[in-house]
Point group: C2
């Protein structure tokens, strides 16, 4: 199984490290022998049709090197690599842009048109062109997986689509952003105001310098769009999401919530009629009332009533769990 | 797809009702046309090789009728039905006996030897003869699924084995018994003593008249044996489980837990070395700190770190979610 990895940032490097670490596990358990025939970033492409040396890959990943630090790298673009490198599976792991979906959108389309199966963590292309990409994959007869795009390590989409297949999903509720959950959890624990906790989170690297995407619920909304389309069979766009962030949550509101046995979480809710992101009261003991940077998703279902799943929604190693899960699933499906 | 249903108690009736309700959904979504060619209990068997009439099935299920109330039922045993009724899939849904595994164990073996795929909710055969049944299924070339045996509606086993396939499961922790969870949750809410809350639970039908299996952790231990064998690849027997029940938990202990931000849950823990059921302190906000009759399972994993899943661990309709999930999966696998 020949893999081409587009994007050698946190997630690309995390995938390389996990693949190297789990080589013998993947062979022993599933008979899989993945070979990374190329890694690509905006500095160029390092390729080897027999598979790049694992020690080299792990060393460069550990050093957080650009691809231009690989011996014999070529100054070619991702699109050129996708069109010229022989492989079965393309991992599209470039950063998310939910306005244009680029450059991931072009990468995914080119890969599918070249007959490659595609696994992505990139929300952008899915938010911008979900149905188009699903149709293209079907037309080209290739597999398309995107477990890592929502919930990091949590297999949210596959849980609903495969394991709960006997159910109609009536509603999806999700705490889908670790940064805002961290901030709200700390506010509840310390009674501290939003601005102070945000600064602490920024110092710890949990919140970005520009925290807009997280605290205004944009990241949550993007993930909710993907879940609505993938699980509820809808064709929702980003602009369809009603959205309220957490910047106006006061310590008083959180204290009041606590006194009544509740906590406040930034919750995305999708049904067949609505898609909405807003701060909500969640009872303590409810599966969505998870602390720290955890993510959680709660499904309302016609048979099972409610199923919730919780885990780490970010982190390169955690996300590689979903990427490897998709890889194993694609290999099973095409075997 | 011809189904033979052994056991027409709560779960058998719940399955029949869900199948009837979701007939068109199953056809539309998966192209499946299940027909119930036989239902069997200890009063006899009602069979029809073209499929029993759905209205008749639903009516008898609704009336909580014995199979002897069906027109033209035959006084034959389950084993005779398994050996004589032409079908592809046998549902084994008789009551659990974790000492002998019977009568489910014999039913499952006979069905496999007759070349039938088997789906079961019955813990007994899995606790008594897990490896033997897995081997027999493999030898006979039939599919064997038992999602409904642990966690009711929660697809615990398939989550670990399929969706988290890239991970090594390092530890399984589970709140696997709704009755004890209800009792402990009520004790925490009311500050009431164990005996009083148990009586209330018995009046509500949440606890059995003889609550031994639940409150002494026997049911949890049986489920933990299944999870250890199915997910950790072990060959654990019931006697290997160290077990402490909840009867000695005092309101004082629960109050003290609460004051330190914790709650007390009956937790089953399995690793490659240990299998143990005992009351444990769980921090509020932890995914295992679920209230009411909910069940929850937490996996410790090498890549994803922790994934938890929560849902209703019992109830005929909830459990039919797992039975239908298994049915869809078996049909996909053999297609």
């Amino acid at each position: 199984m020949r893999l081409l990895i587009i994007g050698f940032g946190n997630l690309g490097r995390g995938l390389v490290e996990s693949l190297a670490e789990k080589k013998s596990f993947l062979y022993r358990r599933f008979g899989l022998k993945p070979r990374v025939v190329g890694v690509v970033d905006d500095s160029g492409a390092a390729t080897n049709n027999k598979g790049l040396d694992w020690r080299l890959l792990v060393k460069k990943a550990y050093q957080k090197a650009k691809v231009s630090a690989f011996p014999n790298y070529k100054r070619i673009s991702a699109v050129e690599a996708i069109e010229s490198v022989e492989c079965e599976i393309v991992f599209e792991l470039t950063p998310t842009n939910i306005q244009t979906g680029e450059p991931g959108l072009t990468h995914i389309k080119k890969a599918m048109k070249a007959g490659r199966h595609v696994i992505t963590s990139n929300k952008g292309p899915l938010v911008v062109a979900f149905r188009e990409l699903e149709h293209l994959a079907k037309k080209q007869g290739v597999e398309f997986r995107y477990s890592a795009s929502v919930g990091g390590a949590i297999p949210v989409i596959e849980l609903a689509r495969k394991l709960l297949a006997g159910n109609e999903v009536l509603e999806i509720q999700g705490v889908l952003n670790g940064t805002t959950n961290y901030i709200l959890s700390r506010m509840a624990e310390e009674g501290a105001p939003f601005d102070q906790v945000l600064r602490e989170a920024q110092e710890l690297g949990i919140a970005e310098k520009d925290p807009t995407l997280d605290i205004e619920g944009i990241d949550t909304a993007a993930k909710l769009v993907i879940l609505s389309n993938a699980i509820l069979g809808r064709d929702v766009k980003f602009k369809d999401v009603r959205r309220t962030g957490i910047a106006r949550i006061t310590p008083q509101a959180i204290k009041l919530a606590k006194e009544t046995g509740n906590t406040i979480k930034l919750v995305g809710v999708a049904t067949r009629q609505t898609v909405e992101v807003s701060p909500k009261l969640v009872p303590l003991g409810h599966p969505l009332a998870v602390g720290g940077t955890l993510n959680a998703v709660n499904f309302k279902l016609d048979l099972a009533r409610e199923i919730s799943i919780t885990g780490f929604g970010a982190g390169p190693r955690e996300t590689s769990s979903s990427l490897l899960g998709d890889l194993i699933d694609v290999c099973r499906t095409i075997a």
